[in-house]
């Protein structure tokens, strides 16, 4: 390697780890697909595929929170793991600050791990029961050889930042409540000072009164540490509160994407409208005041998704074209991309 090449390598590493200015593109996902093979028979031949993620295009800008909302089986968790490279994408491209990370090996990914960290859903399973809190939070530092110089203080700082006391460091996860465990998980994710966090249903398993604490914490951390969030959830109120932009997923595809206002005030895809109308509002005064869309039928199997628009089997607007042509995710006059042949704003679903 020439001196020039070495120098180039150094600078590109530096650019990678330098904080991206607000508004620049951090993550770009193009045509992401993740299929899981279904094997059967004596020689385990592949007979079908579960199309968990089937062609997703998304971007995340530095400093923003992108909320991805959808029901179970829509592929949002799989997508999160594929982007964070905990899974290997089947097809498509994921770039981080311009670097194509789709097919990098484990070793090559190590540098990127410092910048993209993950917060998991289950506070009871995401912490190693045999390690103390301090060890759990220090682990990413140790893996990257950064614990030697100042690691101990850094871990103490992190614990205080998330609202724990440094005495708690010697205790074990099972001695803490769900909300406290999630804080530990967040502290761990912050250990390497990443630029973005991938959060997979971080508050869904918590009690309602604790959810608000953790949501506030995440909001404060975002400001304090200049973080970008990829926030996966199924609770529409939580997503509204924390997101700048929102993407709605169904059966491995994005149905609608836009700013918070686009999605919540001018929802244009029938599925989005159905979701909003079905989300329970904790206010009895609103009873009977919303337009109620009750979808018929159940979610089709991701191993055998419907042709054309995947939502057509439950959609009241479905026509022949819906079975023949996959609707593209483009702006159809609502000022944000919608994947529906008959996209139309319907604000009556929220009062």
């Amino acid at each position: 390697m020439s001196v020039g090449e070495v120098a180039q390598r150094q600078t590109s590493k530096e650019t990678l780890h330098a904080r991206a200015p607000r508004g620049t593109e951090l993550i770009r996902i193009e045509g992401l697909r993740k299929y899981f093979p279904i094997k059967a028979g004596l020689i385990r031949r592949e007979v079908a595929q579960i199309k968990a993620v089937d062609g997703v295009d998304l971007t995340l800008k530095a400093g923003e929170t992108l909320g991805v909302v959808g029901e179970s089986g829509c592929g949002k968790s799989t997508m999160a793991r594929s982007v964070a490279r905990l899974l290997d994408p089947t097809a498509g491209k994921v770039t981080f600050r311009g670097y194509d990370i789709t097919n990098l090996s484990r070793r090559e990914l190590r540098e990127f791990r410092r910048e993209i960290q993950f917060v998991f859903q289950d506070p009871y399973a995401s912490l190693n029961p045999r390690m103390t809190v301090r060890e759990i939070i220090a682990e990413p530092l140790r893996v990257h050889g950064r614990y030697r110089s100042g690691g101990k203080e850094h871990v103490n700082d992190l614990m205080e930042t998330v609202g724990l006391k440094s005495e708690h460091g010697n205790r074990f996860p099972h001695e803490f409540s769900g909300g406290q465990r999630q804080r530990i998980g967040v502290a761990r994710a912050l250990a390497l000072n990443p630029q973005m966090l991938m959060l997979d249903e971080p508050v869904s398993a918590l009690d309602v009164s604790i959810q608000a604490q953790v949501i506030n914490l995440l909001g404060r951390l975002q400001d304090e540490f200049d973080l970008s969030y990829f926030f996966i959830a199924h609770d529409l109120s939580v997503v509204r509160h924390i997101s700048d932009r929102v993407a709605v997923m169904y059966l491995g595809k994005i149905m609608e994407i836009g700013t918070k206002a686009d999605i919540y005030e001018t929802p244009s895809h029938p599925y989005t409208q159905a979701l909003l109308s079905a989300a329970p509002i904790p206010d009895p005064a609103k009873r009977g005041k919303r337009e109620r869309i009750v979808l018929k039928g159940d979610v089709p199997s991701p191993a055998d998704p419907p042709s054309g628009c995947v939502f057509r089997t439950r959609c009241w607007k479905a026509q022949d074209i819906c079975a023949e042509e996959v609707p593209e995710l483009v702006d159809r006059g609502q000022r944000h991309p919608v994947a529906c042949h008959f996209a139309e704003v319907d604000a009556k679903v929220i009062v």
């Binding site: 190590r110 791990r113 993950f118 998991f120 859903q121 990413p140 006391k165 404060r220 400001d223």
Partner: protein, 332 residues
């Protein structure tokens, strides 16, 4: 107004109970304060690791604890065989041959045909048998745990291949193979016997740990370690193996029991430890012809074997309960 909860009121004086949204700093400061209150109310007790909890659970099993004590005593007897045994195991005294158990001349278990003190022979026999069994347990646990860990962690074709090999080993009839090997190599030293036995017994643990790892692999804390960029080796040794200690420890104790029995069988069949080194099975073998006339020659080692194996099984049961990670937590 006395205030047994100074921290609770302290923070609240700064934040009156209104419906205003507090600034994020006071919100979290308040939360941190609350955490102290929670703990100060005695709602949380001393930090207890999983090990300490397991130990507490173990000591609740009186049978296991009792067996553990007995076992420890027997082990001590084996370790301090030289000090305890009044005679060496090979010292012959034809004049004192065929004596029934008596306090005369310290022949507590009597003497055998050749006039050797049977108590001494039993004590040394305990040492040999436990030594062999201990080595077998250690070796097979090491091999089995590592093998199973690698197989379960990587899965896929690696796992397939490795498990098929295990199946192969399991189809071999142990005793038959051992007898063949013994016939070829002649009677072995304890260490040789131990190694050969270990080569068979690692398979059970390999299967168990492999199964364990297959499920541990899906745990979120393992995903978290991957997300931090940890290497496979680190994940296996730092994150997963410590969480498999339960089955490993339980299995290791059970292997000790099995090994003692198998070694006894081997010696009984004549393919074990070299004479005149006594091993419990060999002692029974030697006494075969004298069951009617000198029953103590069979009883002493026989009862010892039974006691050791029973105790190990009880301790193993207790350990299994104690290390069971399924915590019974109640959700209302």
């Amino acid at each position: 107004m006395t205030n047994p909860n100074p921290s609770a009121s302290e923070h609240l004086q700064g934040a009156p109970p209104q419906l205003d949204r507090p600034s994020p700093e006071t919100a979290t400061a308040a939360e941190a304060e609350e955490l102290t209150t929670f703990h100060e109310e005695g709602l949380e007790v001393v930090a207890r690791s999983q090990w300490q909890l397991a130990r507490r659970r173990f000591f609740r099993h009186k049978l296991a604890v009792g067996s553990l004590i007995v076992l420890l005593l027997i082990v001590l007897v084996g370790v301090f065989a030289e000090q305890i045994a009044p005679y060496s195991f090979r010292e012959q005294s034809p004049l004192d041959a065929r004596m029934a158990p008596t306090f005369e001349g310290q022949h507590y278990f009597g003497t055998d045909v050749l006039g050797r003190d049977y108590f001494s022979r039993t004590v040394f026999g305990i040492r040999t048998s436990l030594y062999v069994a201990g080595v077998v347990a250690l070796l097979s646990t090491l091999i089995g745990a590592l093998y199973g860990a690698v197989s379960g962690y990587f899965g896929g074709w690696i796992d397939n291949l490795m498990m098929r090999f295990v199946d192969l080993v399991l189809t071999l009839p142990i005793l038959a193979v051992l007898i063949v090997i013994a016939a070829l190599l002649g009677n072995g030293t304890p260490i040789r016997v131990a190694i050969i036995l270990a080569l068979f017994y690692w398979t059970t643990l390999a299967r168990i740990i492999r199964g364990n790892f297959l499920s541990l692999r899906e745990k979120e804390y393992v995903e978290a370690a991957k997300a931090s960029g940890a290497s496979d080796m680190r994940i296996i040794f730092r994150h997963m193996l410590p969480n498999s200690m339960g089955p490993i420890v339980v299995n290791a104790t059970l292997i000790v029991a099995t090994a003692i029995l198998v070694e006894a069988t081997l010696s009984f069949l004549g393919f074990g430890v070299q004479p005149p080194q006594p091993a419990l099975g060999k002692l029974i073998d030697d006494a075969r012809g004298f069951m009617q006339t000198m029953p103590w020659l069979v009883l002493a080692p026989g009862v010892t074997i039974v006691v050791i194996v029973l105790c190990i099984n009880f301790v193993g049961d207790g350990l299994r309960d104690a290390l069971d990670p399924t915590q019974r937590r109640l959700r209302a």
